[in-house]
């Protein structure tokens, strides 16, 4: 006798569960929570630039733009590689590249985070390294008859684009 009563109770609860699930799945106007801040990274498959460099560069731009905040966590190597559909080795290279520059921290067993401490202004050494990278590009510009002013304008525009997230 009690068993029949118990069964009916269970049946009723199940009906509630069914209705609730249907209601959940019918909620098709899916609205993202959290105000929709999307940090998208785009990797070009057929580019001359190696994929790990593309990854690292875009993450650096994200930090430059303030979209990636200090202490914010980045996806694990596996999750990132899965989203890319590419080898974990590639993501690993990108992360180690950034870790060397001290822009991110790889915390063992915990994951990867953006550098939580304030990144200090470039040292003389770091400035020299950046200059070394820019030099060949400027040389090419000069050969292609770009004036100093044109190149300075280009620089200004690029800085603006980076800060505003224009590709």
């Amino acid at each position: 006798m009690q068993k029949a009563y118990f069964l009916r109770r269970v049946g009723f609860l199940y009906l509630l569960f069914v209705l609730f699930t249907i209601e959940q799945m019918c909620y098709t106007n899916y609205i993202t929570k959290g105000g929709g801040r999307d940090m998208f990274i785009e990797i070009k498959a057929n580019s001359d630039v190696p994929i790990y460099i593309q990854l690292a560069n875009q993450l650096i731009e994200g930090i430059a733009r303030g979209e990636l905040k200090p202490g914010e966590s980045l996806p694990s190597v596996r999750a990132f590689a899965a989203d890319l559909g590419m080898n974990m080795h590639t993501v690993n290279k990108a992360y180690h590249y950034l870790e060397e520059k001290e822009f991110i921290q790889i915390v063992a067993k915990s994951g990867v985070i953006i550098q939580p401490n304030k990144i200090p202004k470039a040292t003389a050494d770091q400035k020299q390294q950046l200059a070394d990278q820019i030099r060949p590009i400027l040389a090419e510009g000069i050969v292609l008859k770009l004036s100093e002013e044109e190149m300075v304008d280009m620089l200004r525009e690029l800085v603006r684009d980076i800060k505003e997230g224009i590709q």
Binding site: V10, Y14, F17, M25, E42, F80, D83
Partner: protein
């Protein structure tokens, strides 16, 4: 009554298969990736419509044939069931066969028209995808498993009271038609199988955390939102099936311990209710959610059809149905032609996930 049941199942399967192209992303046609610029190509639209027509027609004809034969020949229950299942397989084979024909056609069309020539193949990743992913917590899937374990404990507590011959199979009339001698193992065979099934649904939900997202570069925000929603609803769907199964098998198992709680009517109506509930869930999943959430409308989407296409993964999809990509650490991936998930067969874990539950279930049934 059996005829009605099988007719219902065959009809449902036929309709679901026939209208599959409608439940998919527009960028997918018979297992081939179609860049956004070409999704409305008249040939593609025509092929999809034709597929629906052919599969629907052949399924309905098979159904009509089955009904006619069943109602006029008055066959024995066993033959009825055998043929009912046979018809289901026939409709499946027809739909898969015709799918392959279409698959080859679209593949050729894509090559001939050079849909990818001169386009930049791009992969888009949302850095915060894992954080935005809201699946049901694991514990929700563990609760039905705890229920099953308590059933096992309860069975052993009541072991002496259980009749010496335990029913191991029920006929369509709701009455048991096969029995086994009571042993400690056989008395819990059903809950054990239930445990394996519950485990599989747990893996299905958790597995989505190990599945890479595929964001459409031509429509980033929309496809991102849809993917997140699809995973959330898949999680719900998996739990729904798991809970429904637990109740159904739980009831059957309790019936073996306390035969008095059963009645032929309940024993019949419970599986039917289960069938209807599952079909309802599948229908909502396919029609309202759609593959990759493609049928979900997203507000504030800004599609930008630039010169970018997604990276063409056609070469990893064998026959457009089986995903094989060594580089991809994903274990589960979204199906191409169909609503739901499939495995990355290049990943060893996929084979474990596939074979172990099969072995367990076969093992249990053999030992009965």
């Amino acid at each position: 009554m059996i005829i009605l049941l099988f007719a219902f199942i065959i009809l449902f399967i036929t309709v679901l298969q026939a209208f599959t192209p409608k439940f998919l992303k527009p960028t997918e046609a018979f297992g081939i990736y179609v860049p956004d610029q070409y999704t409305l190509e008249p040939t593609i639209v025509r092929l999809k419509k034709r597929y629906t027509g052919v599969v629907l027609m052949s399924g309905l004809i098979a159904l009509a044939g089955y009904l006619f034969w069943a109602l006029t020949q008055n066959p024995v229950e066993e033959t009825l069931v055998l043929l009912g299942v046979g018809v289901q397989f026939v409709t499946l084979f027809i739909s898969i066969g015709y799918y392959f024909i279409m698959h080859v056609r679209v593949k050729k069309l894509k090559k001939e028209q050079g849909w990818l020539t001169g386009k930049n193949e791009v992969r888009v990743v949302d850095v915060q995808f894992q954080q935005k992913l809201h699946l049901l917590p694991r514990v929700m899937f563990i609760i039905p498993m705890i229920v099953t374990v308590s059933l096992i404990i309860y069975t052993y507590m009541k072991y002496p009271e259980i009749p010496d011959m335990i029913p191991t199979h029920w006929g369509l009339s709701g009455q048991p038609d096969a029995f086994s001698e009571k042993t400690y193992f056989i008395s819990i065979a059903l809950p054990l199988m239930l445990l394996v099934l519950q485990g599989m649904f747990l893996m299905m939900s958790e597995g989505m955390k190990f599945s890479g997202a595929r964001i459409n570069p031509a429509n980033k925000k929309t496809s991102l939102t849809q993917q997140l929603a699809f995973r959330k609803y898949t999680s719900w769907f998996a739990l729904f099936i798991s809970v429904s199964m637990t109740l159904m098998f739980g009831y059957f198992h309790l019936q073996t311990i306390h035969p008095e709680i059963g009645s032929a009517w309940i024993t019949f109506s419970i599986p039917v209710t289960f069938l209807v509930a599952v079909f309802l869930a599948v229908a909502i999943y396919a029609v309202k959610v759609g593959q990759s959430g493609s049928r979900i409308k997203v507000d504030d989407s800004s599609p930008s059809l630039e010169d970018k296409v997604a990276i063409d993964e056609d070469r990893y999809w064998k026959g457009g149905m089986f995903y094989f990509n060594k580089e991809d650490p994903s274990i589960m991936v979204e199906k191409r032609f169909g609503v739901g998930w499939t495995l990355n067969f290049a990943h060893p874990v996929s084979w474990i996930v596939l074979i172990v539950p099969l072995l367990l279930i076969f093992g249990i049934t053999f030992l009965l």
